[in-house]
């Protein structure tokens, strides 16, 4: 006859008991908090729910990608904030990767000065809080930089003053939006298609297609075709001082520039560290072997070392890209109207604390999940395939 084991000695039953207990504790706590919240909300006469999103916001937003007036709804205001977050984090991520990649490679240079300067920059920037750096850059605009009339003119056509930075730009025309969208669409849809097509050709027929060239051609020519269909607007504006402000060109506000500069410099330092570690992780024999093959230093780096280093670099790089996106929420401290900043204003006006904090979390979670999804996909593509 089988011996009966008491239930506390049966791992399966025991695990059920533990999980039941956890469920009870978590559920009980959740219920307790929910009850308290409900009681507090009824006392303060705050209706929960997202109905307030269609009410009139009544506050101005200093800069916006789409047109916005203060008599529009909270929903629209939040959309403006969302687009502003997107604007600073997408541009910031691109520049941070460029800066970090360059500095990371420079920091292993055989020239002592070059490597020291790169390391010095990394150590200096990453040991000081980002928020402090943002305040510092912002204060340069508000306190140190001159008024519009005495604006610095470092490069022809670029003006730096306490109202921000003005750069030359094409005259605004709806076609430019379409061109940008085409570039984005090419990167997201067409490039992966070409990639998988090339892979299929190689696996099934053994033909090596020049996929890189096709991708480059698609990236260059598709936007140009869209631009040509749209009527080829080519009027280029160089800003010039007229009266009390600049006319023409594209103005980057002090808030935007400070935030972008701070985020790029800060995240760039961390990325440089990651790139450096990635390159150093490649076996020394790889350098020696490619030297023996007669490859130049640059070709060794781009053809042999970096492709292998990328496997080490990608996962921590992903979390840095996400960090930049999350850190862009510090915008609220220097009055750049990003999503958190707009949400905070709405929160103060409506008192819808739970909904607003929930929305903030939801937006950043979406960013995080999409970025890590895309990066995981890329990482899988370049994964080492062993025999």
């Amino acid at each position: 006859m089988e011996e009966r084991t008491p239930f506390w000695q049966d791992p399966k039953k025991r695990s059920l008991v533990y999980q039941g207990l956890t469920l009870a504790i978590v559920g009980g706590m959740g219920y307790y908090l929910f009850k308290n919240t409900q009681a507090n909300l009824t006392k303060q006469n705050i209706a929960s729910g997202f109905g307030f999103l269609s009410q009139e916001a009544g506050f101005d937003i200093s800069e916006s990608v789409i047109e916005y007036f203060s008599d529009e709804t909270y929903g629209k205001a939040l959309k403006v904030g969302f687009l502003n977050t997107l604007k600073v984090s997408v541009v910031g991520n691109v520049f941070a990767v460029l800066l970090g990649g360059i500095v990371g490679i420079l920091s292993i240079s055989s020239n002592w000065l070059v490597s020291r300067i790169s390391r010095g920059y990394v150590e200096m920037v990453r040991n000081v809080p980002l928020l402090l750096q943002l305040f510092f850059w912002y204060t340069l605009f508000s306190e140190i930089f001159p008024s519009v009339r005495q604006a610095y003119n470092p490069i022809a056509g670029v003006f730096v003053s306490n109202r921000g930075v003005v750069i030359p730009a094409f005259e605004s025309h709806p076609v430019w939006t379409w061109v940008l969208l085409t570039i984005l669409g090419t990167v997201v849809v067409i490039v992966p298609l070409i990639f998988s097509w090339g892979k299929k050709q190689k696996e099934e027929f053994g033909i090596e297609r020049p996929t890189e060239w096709i991708m480059a051609a698609a990236l260059i020519f598709l936007p140009i075709i869209v631009w040509m269909i749209g009527g080829m607007p080519s009027k280029f504006e160089i800003p010039s001082l007229q009266g009390f402000n600049f006319k023409g060109g594209f103005t980057l506000s002090p808030e935007y520039i400070s935030l972008l500069l701070g985020l790029v410099l800060y995240t760039g330092a961390f990325i440089a560290e990651i790139v450096r570690a990635g390159i150093l992780s490649v076996n020394k024999g790889q350098w020696e072997a490619s030297e023996a093959l007669g490859l130049s230093g640059w070709r060794t780096l781009t053809l042999v070392i970096i492709p292998q280093a990328l496997r080490v670099i990608i996962p921590p790089l992903t979390s840095q890209l996400l960090n930049l996106t999350k850190n862009s929420s510090l915008a609220v401290a220097i009055a750049y109207p990003d999503f958190v900043s707009v949400a905070n204003t709405s929160l103060n006006q409506t008192g819808q604390a739970i909904e607003m904090v929930g929305l903030i979390m939801l937006v950043y979670l979406t960013f995080s999940l999409t970025t890590s999804f895309a990066m995981n996909w890329y990482n899988k593509k370049i994964k080492l395939t062993e025999r």
Partner: protein, 368 residues
Amino acid sequence: MVYKFTKNPEKRTLPRMEAMAKWMKKNLFSTKGNTVLSLFLIAGLIKIFTPIFTWLFIDATWIGDAAACREGSGACLAFINEKFTYIIFGPYPREEIWRPALTMVLMFALLWWSKEPSRWSKKLVKWWAGFVVLGWILMSGGLGLAPVKSTSWGGLPLTLVLSFVGIFISYPFGIALALGRRSQMPFIKSMCVIYIELIRGVPMISLLFMSSVMFPLFLPEGVSIDKLLRAQVAIIMFISAYMAEVVRGGLAAIPKGQYEAADALGLNYFQTMRFIILPQALKIVIPPSVNTAIGMLKDTSLVIIIALFDLLSTTKASLKDPEWLGFSVEGYLFAAFIYFILCFSMGKYARRLEVEFHRGHKNREVNI
């Protein structure tokens, strides 16, 4: 030691010069391109740093009032001089300032003493526990000291309290979450994964907002906890998720054989963890958790957004003094300098520990 001085000093200078020349040839002037680059960089560095150095030290106004500063062309270090106490200690009552000062001195002394891994023992833990009690009494009053409310704590002590208390309390939570994430029980595992990923996916600001606007709603009627404690809870919630990932890294590094050996000895789960796995895993995660601590020290600066007076807030507040307007650069540089010293030395320490622990592992492998 003695024979060092018996060496002929002249004999040593020549090779030293030669070695320097050799070093420069190798590291700065190895090729034509490198020579041009090095000379260009040296010129650039001189051009950039001479004005900064002149501004910061030579032309600086060291003592005097704001008017004296405005006359001078250099940095206004008199501003730092004037606001030093406020920036470091915040709104803490002036006549009681020796208390946070003493607490900080004690803390740094104890930190300095604890930095050698050979001194880590149970006795040291008791010392730290004693320090926490003493520090609490010194900061908040009691035993004959005048009580000081936490609302008037500020500056560097507040920054240190928020980050170090945050790190230490989140440690056990991090361990629990990491163990939960590796658990076989689906419900516990999924709860831990959701918590960790949720917190790591959102910016810290949103947690601080939560602490300032949502926590009061969670509490039953009539109960309220002060802002500092709420911020501390939010910070602990935040770090715990990051700590969990750090600990998970340590747990993953323990070879499977250790679990199997523990099973073979008949140890149950808690015994396995307590006596076999955690002692090894936690040692591995000490260097990365120092790095997490650096991140936290920097991130506590965000409490300015919910109007707590940490080091950055006191700096910013002292810039608003109408008498001393216009010296923001000096103020921020001073605060940056303090943060830099703290974070840089912690980072150096983490790297040293990493090397030391790694060496320990290597030796053991050789011995076996």
